[in-house]
């Protein structure tokens, strides 16, 4: 097993404190970046690393940063997305609780690279421990001169603050997050303008996931090429956290090369299926990612391989369902989630998720009609691609994939009545 990068301190005593973090080489990357590298060199290094966003869309991090204009009439901002609301996902919490300084250090280096002087970390309201650990870490970093004025005597300055959310999945969507940070209800904004040009408080804004930013100190310390090579041979792109849940013997967060086969994660790391049952279905990238049949689990867990079979890496959250799983009930739970969390701004998502919830509930109760499955697909097709933000797609994809790939099971449910 290769050496752990992001989770090497998990479980160590007081791993969240500055002392322990520095003992393990913490803040050396910050010193290297600020004292030895120009901002554009930092971006170049991250570009070389092949690091793609870990929040869902997989956008190359270095490229995203290079979209930020050098000169802007308004201040620029970094906002770290710690809303972690995608069902099945519990990886960012592991970083924030065990190694908050890794995120703080990554945020400082990122801000330096882009010429940002104010950073916010938007943490979902339920994560009270993450919030307090980050607040403590930020205070420690200020006291040590890693934040605030004249960092490491370079003249560079940066302020950082934690912003608590208050319960709304949609606030994980980057523009809804900005609205929420501004103290408004979290409804997504129309794009363009993109946040890189007009974002938080109208200023150019970079939004990155916690795990994305946590990779940055390691990339700076060891080089972009080193990180890229940590990915599976022929795939690259570094390591990734895979939260595994559902019917496995050993659920948990596994740090593995990008491109590790899904089957290997389920059987070699997560211990296989409870009761040694067979796998029926696996969601490979958080609840929004199209479900896979057991015949598809040899897929490599990387953005391109998953896209090639019509699914997606998303947050990397793997949800395993055994042969006895009731997929009608499971899809009902997912649809109801999206119906509950739809922010109400776009009609197809707001109305469509409600209609789908009604139909799936009816099917589950044995009152389904033979036309219901086509109705579900029809509504899902009507939502997909027709909303301001990708939440509509997120709600449509599970429906499309469950009903298409497991149509027989849904039909049986309806026939049985």
């Amino acid at each position: 097993m290769p050496e752990l990068v992001l989770t090497k301190n998990v479980g160590k005593k007081d791993s969240h404190t500055l002392g322990i973090y520095e003992q393990g080489g913490g803040y050396q990357a910050l010193k290297k970046a600020l004292l030895e590298m120009k901002p554009e060199d930092v971006i170049k290094e991250v570009d070389k690393s092949g690091l793609r966003g870990r929040g869902g869309a997989g956008f190359p991090a270095g490229k995203k940063w290079s979209f930020i204009p050098k000169e802007a009439p308004k201040p620029k901002y970094l906002t770290v997305n710690a809303d972690e609301g995608e069902p099945g996902t519990f990886k960012d919490r592991v970083i924030m609780e065990n190694d908050p300084h890794m995120l703080v250090e990554g945020s400082i280096i990122t801000s330096y690279a882009i010429g940002i002087y104010q950073a916010y970390i938007y943490v979902r309201g339920e994560y009270t421990r993450s919030i307090s650990r980050l607040e403590d870490a930020i205070n420690e970093a200020y006291a040590r001169g890693y934040l605030g004025k004249n960092i490491l005597d370079t003249g560079y300055y940066l302020d950082m603050a934690v912003h608590p959310g208050a319960g709304a999945y949609i606030c994980g969507e980057e523009t809804a997050l900005l609205e929420s940070l501004e103290g408004k209800k979290g409804q997504p904004r129309m794009k363009p303008p993109f946040p890189a040009i007009v974002g938080l408080f109208q200023g150019p804004t970079v939004i990155n996931n916690v795990e994305t930013i946590a990779c940055v100190p390691h990339i700076i310390k060891n080089g972009g090429e080193w990180f890229n090579n940590l990915g599976a041979p022929g795939v690259g792109g570094g390591i990734k956290l895979f939260p595994v849940s559902g019917h496995v013997k050993k659920p948990g967060v596994y740090e593995l090369p990008v491109g590790t086969p899904l089957r290997e994660i389920i059987y070699n790391y997560a211990g296989g299926v409870r009761g040694d049952k067979k796998v029926k279905a696996v969601i490979p990238g958080g609840s929004s990612a199209p479900v896979l049949k057991v015949e598809e689990i040899d897929v490599k867990m990387d953005f391109n391989s998953l896209a090639a079979i019509g699914s997606m890496m998303g947050s990397g959250a793997i949800i395993v369902m055994d042969e006895d799983t009731d997929l009608v009930k499971t899809l009902r739970i997912l649809i109801k989630f999206y119906a509950h969390e739809s922010c109400g701004k776009c009609t197809p998502c707001r109305e469509g998720t409600g209609w789908m919830a009604k139909i799936i509930t009816r099917i589950e109760k044995g009152q389904g009609e033979s036309s219901d499955l086509d109705a579900l697909l029809d509504i899902a097709n009507g939502i997909r691609g027709r909303t301001l933000c990708p939440m509509g797609d997120a709600a449509a994809m599970p429906v499309q994939s469950f009903v298409t790939k497991f149509r027989g099971e849904f039909e049986d449910y309806i026939k049985r009545g």
Partner: protein, 159 residues
């Protein structure tokens, strides 16, 4: 504003520190509502008015946020607020059965408070503890790998 509704001195200091973190006062709304909820245990219309005044926001802007976010409560909840996750990973491992058990044990439906005001039962979406499902949050403490027996033990120990 109703009489006597005012943050403690300590909370006022915290509020000042929070407001200072943002270039616009309004951005402090969510953290301020958190302070208010902790201090007054619910965001009643009077609290809304107080918060609006503190941040110089219109009442409608405060109310809009309040009705959008699920974690603020307009009425005081029971002494213990049980939030059971019923999303996918928890349900795969029996969350819906645990919900039935909690309802029976507390003799209330989800969304209700016991007559003695001791317990409020809610169902919530994924809490980010899917690896140790099923999970519930009791006030600010998370209980993982939950079972019926486990629930009995947790509830029995509560003062």
């Amino acid at each position: 504003m109703s009489k006597g509704l005012e943050f403690s001195k300590k909370t006022k200091e915290r509020l000042q520190a929070i407001v200072a973190k943002y270039p616009e006062k309004g951005a402090a709304l969510l953290p301020t509502l958190w302070l208010a909820q902790r201090e007054f245990s619910a965001i009643t219309p009077e609290v809304e008015e107080y918060v609006a005044g503190l941040l110089g926001l219109s009442l409608v802007r405060v109310h809009e946020a309040l009705s959008f976010y699920t974690m603020y409560t307009p009425q005081p909840l029971g002494k213990y607020h049980i939030q059971l996750c019923t999303n996918i990973s928890c349900s795969l491992l029996g969350a819906e059965e645990l919900l039935a058990y909690l309802k029976k044990r507390l003799n209330i439906e989800a969304g209700e408070t016991t007559p003695d005001k001791k317990f409020t039962l809610s169902t919530v979406e994924c809490l980010g503890y899917c690896g140790t499902a099923p999970v519930m949050r009791l006030n600010e403490t998370f209980y993982e790998n939950l079972t019926e027996n486990g629930i009995d033990q947790i509830l029995r120990k509560l003062p």
